[in-house]
């Protein structure tokens, strides 16, 4: 029979490794909203936002106000350029924005370029995309596309996330709603190679 100290080593491995794995997963879960939380913002990008973008067409445009959804939005850019005659595709250069759902919940975003495609119901940020949220999460990626009619957000390129959970690097990422009818059932998917790091303790 194996000596007690041999088993002790095995038990020590389990005792150390498994709770730590639970810890890292638990700390990551808060990236997802509670299943009972219904995300309204993704269902329709506020029409007033699109109106602002469509009408701007000027150098150094800025907007600060309250959307129909009740959220406060600040939007800055160096340029807004409608790309076709019916203004269905709009390019926005050097975009930065702050969306405030309420005093405690906000997010800021910036990118070299933004593209809103009203026909396809997509909003894309391209080049040095950076998103910060009030819960301490920083997301950096080369591109971020919001399919706002489908409750789908995805990156094609590498994504880096930093927050209370530590850091996550992945080849690509997707966030979507499995059950759009109920508005619940959120899925966060990291693909093309995932690396998570979490520092714990003293």
């Amino acid at each position: 029979m194996l000596k007690d100290d041999k088993y002790s080593t095995l038990v020590a491995i389990f005792k150390v490794m498994l709770p730590c794995l639970a810890l890292i997963i638990l700390s990551t879960l808060f990236l997802l909203p509670d299943n009972r939380t219904k995300i309204q913002a993704l269902n329709t990008i506020d029409k007033s936002t699109l109106d602002i973008v469509k009408k701007a067409g000027v150098n150094k445009p800025s907007f600060r106000g309250t959307l129909a959804s009740g959220s406060n939005l600040e939007l800055y850019a160096t340029e807004i350029i409608p790309k076709n005659n019916d203004k269905k595709i709009i390019e926005i250069n050097e975009i930065s924005a702050r969306l405030e759902l309420n005093k405690n919940n906000w997010a800021t975003a910036s990118a070299k370029k933004g593209v809103v495609n009203i026909s396809e119901q997509t909003a894309e940020m391209i080049g040095k995309v950076s998103v910060k949220s009030s819960n301490g999460v920083l997301i950096e990626t080369s591109d971020l596309k919001v399919f706002y009619a489908k409750s789908l957000v995805k990156t094609e390129g590498e994504v880096f996330m930093k927050g209370p959970f530590g850091t996550i690097t992945a080849g690509s990422a997707e966030f979507y709603d499995m059950n759009q009818n109920s508005g619940t059932g959120y899925v966060l998917l990291f693909n093309k190679g995932v690396k998570m790091q979490y520092n714990f303790g003293e």
């Binding site: 007690d4 041999k6 491995i13 005792k15 498994l18 639970a22 810890l23 879960l29 499995m178 990291f190």
Partner: protein, 148 residues
């Protein structure tokens, strides 16, 4: 070589937990599905904590959310080519289930524990991590060797 009867009870000493460190997880993909409360690391999963490594082809973590939105891990399941590696010590199994409610781990399928020249094989190993008490069942075989 010696045979050990099925249902053998072993007394395991307690050891202090790591108080600090970095845990690193790599895998081909990670899916966190709040609909079913499962996070899945899929493909070449490797978890490193200081000198301890856990490898498996897939690791699923099941969690629950209570009425106050408190999230709690209930179990962790590692399947296919499961290895726990610490220095020269290797424990291998087809499946490892860690249940947080009773703080037990159950290894099953082609278990091989190799520590310092001594190896121990069997079909099922259940360990209570609170007491350190473990039970090996199925056909158990021990090969005793030196630490060198």
């Amino acid at each position: 070589m010696s045979q050990v009867s099925a249902g053998t009870n072993v007394s395991l000493g307690s050891i202090e937990m790591e108080k600090s460190g970095t845990i690193e997880v790599t895998s081909d993909s990670l899916k966190i599905d709040s609909n079913v409360g499962i996070a899945t690391f899929d493909g070449n999963v490797e978890i490193k904590l200081n000198k301890i490594i856990l490898k498996a082809q897939k690791i699923t973590v099941t969690y629950s959310i209570d009425e106050n939105s408190k999230q709690e891990i209930t179990e962790i399941l590692a399947i296919n080519d499961v290895f726990f590696i610490s220095n020269k010590d290797i424990t291998k199994a087809d499946r490892a289930l860690y249940s947080l409610s009773d703080n037990t781990i159950k290894l099953s399928g082609n278990i091989l524990i190799n520590q310092g020249g001594t190896s121990f094989s069997g079909e099922e190993l259940s360990i209570n991590l609170d007491t350190g008490q473990g039970t090996m069942s199925g056909r158990v075989k021990a090969i005793l060797g030196s630490d060198e």
